[in-house]
């Protein structure tokens, strides 16, 4: 059980991890480990075949969980989580929220660090 009360996968998966990605090890989109997502309307309404992890992943994303949490809570390696999440981004079901990246301007970077600092001070 997750801290917020939702059921999560109960233990290690017995499937070879990269079987879940048809052997692909690289995500098509660059996903920072701390990235969180917004679920698009198509992501909310899509239905998935049995055994497809996409539905569970989208539920976690809707709860504002990051790439790291999707990996941890679904008991799938980080690389596998990235490939599966990347597929959902490419399909338009997910949109990544802001993180600091190579494309972040120095103003954006400063703004994000300042917000982090005031948040930490207020804890």
């Amino acid at each position: 059980m997750a801290p917020d009360g939702r059921e999560v996968a109960a233990g290690p998966r017995l499937v070879r991890p990269y079987a879940l990605t048809s052997g692909r090890t690289e995500s098509v989109v660059d996903l920072p480990i701390e990235a969180t997502f917004e679920v698009s309307p198509s992501g909310r309404t899509a239905t998935w075949p049995e055994g497809d992890l996409s539905g569970q992943i989208l539920d976690l994303c809707a709860a504002k969980e990051s790439v790291a949490e999707v990996s941890a809570k679904m008991h799938i390696p980080l690389g596998v989580a990235r490939v599966l999440l990347g597929d959902l981004v490419t399909a338009g079901h997910l949109k990544t929220r802001t993180t600091i990246s190579e494309n972040t301007t120095s103003d954006e970077r400063r703004e994000l660090i300042e917000r982090t600092l005031s948040g930490l001070r207020a804890l």
């Binding site: 990269y18 990996s71 120095s106």
Partner: protein
């Protein structure tokens, strides 16, 4: 199908907590995280000639590297993640992934294992990531202070060296404030040269 663009201000960011095995990284993360630290794993092919236990296994095989992490919701639209680095040096290639986009790093130091800290300091210097050094006084011993550590690890004068109790929320929080403040001051320099 079209949908409203992401709220531009909704963001997540991260701070890396580094240091050798057993120095208290997960304790530090757990002290200040709003969730019990979670563990994510990455698969790596083991071709190490290192000296740790895993390398005693004869064949090349796939092994997992674990990283513990926590999170702090700082505002409705801002989440800070804290990632503990995998301890063993041979897994440091994974750090590149962690360091990318991080605000900065807290290098936890155990006076009994300065070697591990040395390597972490070197790594962040090479990567140009802002970092502070936090001497973990977990056993209450004040035998060595920040000045001793600065000298022993040859930490440049502008880099903060502080004391921390990794088990204590307020202490861990102070360390996070400190690295974030420091990252902000470093930004001025970076922005000027960029």
């Amino acid at each position: 199908m079209d949908y409203a663009p992401s709220n531009r201000n909704s963001a997540s960011t991260k701070i890396v907590v580094a240091g050798g095995f057993g120095v208290g990284k997960t304790t530090f993360v757990g002290a200040v995280s709003e969730i019990d630290p979670l563990r994510t794993e990455a698969l790596v092919t083991n071709e190490s000639e290192g000296q740790d236990d895993i390398s005693k296994v004869q064949q090349k095989h796939t092994t997992t590297v674990a990283m513990d992490f926590g999170r702090i919701t700082l505002a409705e639209n801002l989440v800070l993640y804290l990632f503990g680095t995998p301890g063993q040096r041979r897994f440091w290639f994974m750090w590149d992934d962690l360091v990318k986009g991080a605000i900065g790093a807290v290098v936890l130091v155990d006076v009994r294992r300065l070697d591990d800290s040395f390597a972490a300091v070197d790594y962040f210097e090479a990567k140009g990531l802002p970092f502070i050094v936090a001497l973990n006084q977990f056993d209450g011993s004040q035998e060595f202070g920040p000045d001793d550590i600065r000298e022993a690890l040859a930490i440049p004068a502008h880099i903060p060296v502080i004391e921390v109790d990794a088990r204590d929320r307020e202490s861990a929080k102070k360390a996070l404030v400190r690295i974030t403040e420091f990252a902000l001051t470093q930004l001025t320099g970076v922005a000027a040269s960029a």
